[in-house]
Amino acid sequence: MDSRDQSESPTVTEQNPEPQASPDAGAGFPHPAISIAGESAARPAKRSREIGNVELQGLNAYYGSNHAVRGVSLAFDSARVTAIIGPSGCGKSTMVRCINRMHEEIAGARSEGKVLLDGLDLYDPRIDIVAVRRSVGMVFQKPNPFPTMSVIDNVTAGLRLTGASRGELEERGHQALVGAGLWDEVKDRLKAPGVGLSGGQQQRLCIARALAVDPEVLLMDEPCSALDPMATLRIEELIGELKERVTIVIVTHNMQQAARVADTTVFMLGGELIEVGATDKVFTNPDDERTEQYVTGKFG
């Protein structure tokens, strides 16, 4: 652990534009921009996005009596990648799972505070949880394609409940696979079981599955922790391509990964937000002593 972290030299060469003020549009829900998933793949880079801005206000999350996230206020700006780092059990996954309301699926779990998507509180009682999850997609630690479904059925699983026509499903499935950089590898085996793919391909299949419903935000909870270095690299490249069309929030244990992919890095400790800033600043010149100790491998 030590040697790895000390050898770390943050090679952040990406530009880190100043976070643009998130337009507090208070847009209607669901988003007006529900469009064919793949269209965005062809969108010109860096369109000025007015959707996909997430803001946490005084977020607290609990598992029974365990207070896992303590009063976090934070904004995730659209068209950017935000990495959440911190030692195990610091609440980073829990915080992220509050954004698509997956936290409440766990028995005994609850949360307080606000999660705003473009100004709209996702915890408002009038909000439909299905709409939340379609606007905020998620990719998990371990690739989890549905074992009874083919590659293409996996990708379109989230779409099929909308009653889309067969042709539309095929089209959007295709676009999502292209978007996830998987099309060329699976175009001849769309009908083969999704679990027959390699681990890295399975994870990109899961990304395609999440993209197919055209979310505004994509949460990634340690998406590479079960993958080999080559597959990890492929996912990281993909993250760079995807950030033009979705706001990406990635939880990672791997600090080099945060340095490679993220525009903004958030450091959490003991359920609290310790520091948030441009990635190169957090890794080279953090404001907080604890951040410094963590990124230099002194603990964690």
Partner: protein, 294 residues
């Protein structure tokens, strides 16, 4: 620690020697126990085959029983009757058992799930003669015996088996799959139908087949509910139907040696049916486990 001392520790003596002996003892005795279990099965199957194979013939399988004491007939009416009684029992018990399992694993609060599980285990432990008496009092006393009454009794016996095995299989479905579905905005019931049940399908089928195999040979409840039947191949569940277990029971009670041989032959049919069902069930289960990554 010096070299000599550490070498001394490697020698097979004292404490280590004792541990090795215990290890061997446990290994040998458990192997013998396992062989005994296999031997019991082989002896039972072997004796049934050797004593029953002689009376087995096409005629035996395709002719209904003769009058009492007449051993020129066969068991076609018993095969048909067992088929009908067990099929109706399965139609009642399997859907209910599946729904019970789905309720306890997917919807019930943990405490209620535990309670239901416990009740099912108790139900599973009820002697089948008690189930038979219960159904006798409910459907037969004051009316008449019927294939349907037999089916109800068998369904009550099947229900906890189906529900418990289905519960075990459903809890094996990885939580990550349901999580993935929920995160896509797929509703709970839809996740159940599209993800959970298809993933568990093989195992669910296994549980149902095992339950069928288990009740196909049940005798006590049928003696009370469905044992006085007419001649010929009967198919109307409203009246009492013949069945293989009752045929075995009645033939073995008979003084005639030919009837005894017929009882063995019928036992052979029954045991073959149960073995085949078990093997098929295993195959489905193996397939299902592969799917769930177990």
């Amino acid at each position: 620690m010096s070299g000599a001392e550490s070498h001394a520790l490697l020698l097979d003596r004292g404490n280590l020697k004792r541990r090795n002996r215990v290890n061997r003892l446990v290994g040998v005795s458990s192997t013998i126990a396992a062989l005994l279990a296999v031997a019991v099965l082989l002896i039972v199957v072997g004796s049934v085959v050797s004593k029953g194979i002689g009376a087995l013939s096409f005629h035996f399988l395709t002719t209904p029983m003769g009058f009492f004491g007449d051993t020129s007939g066969g068991i076609s009416n018993a095969i048909v009757g067992t088929g009908i009684i067990v099929a109706i029992a399965a139609l009642m018990a399997i859907p209910v058992g599946m729904l019970v399992a789905i309720y306890t694993t997917e919807f019930a609060p943990e405490r209620i799930g535990h309670a239901v599980r416990f009740v099912l285990d108790l139900l599973n432990g009820v002697p089948t003669i008690i189930t038979g008496i219960f159904v006798y009092g409910l459907l037969v006393a004051g009316k008449q015996q019927s294939g349907f009454a037999g089916s109800v009794a068998l369904a009550i016996i099947m229900l906890p088996i189906v529900a418990r095995t289905a519960q075990e299989v459903l809890t094996l479905v990885p939580g990550a799959l349901k999580e993935a579905a929920y995160a896509l905005g797929i509703a709970r019931w839809r996740t159940l139908l599209r993800v959970t049940l298809p993933t568990a399908a093989g195992g669910l089928l296994t549980g149902s087949l095992l339950a069928v195999a288990r009740v196909a040979g049940e005798t006590a409840p049928l003696i009370l509910t469905c044992s006085i039947f007419g001649q010929g191949v009967l198919t109307e569940p409203g009246e009492a139907l013949a069945s293989i277990p009752i045929f075995i029971f009645q033939s073995s009670e008979s003084p005639s040696p030919e009837a005894h041989t017929q009882a063995w032959a019928a036992a052979l049919i029954l045991i073959a049916f149960v073995l085949v069902l078990n093997i098929v069930a295993r195959a489905f289960y193996a397939r299902s486990r592969k799917r769930m990554g177990a």
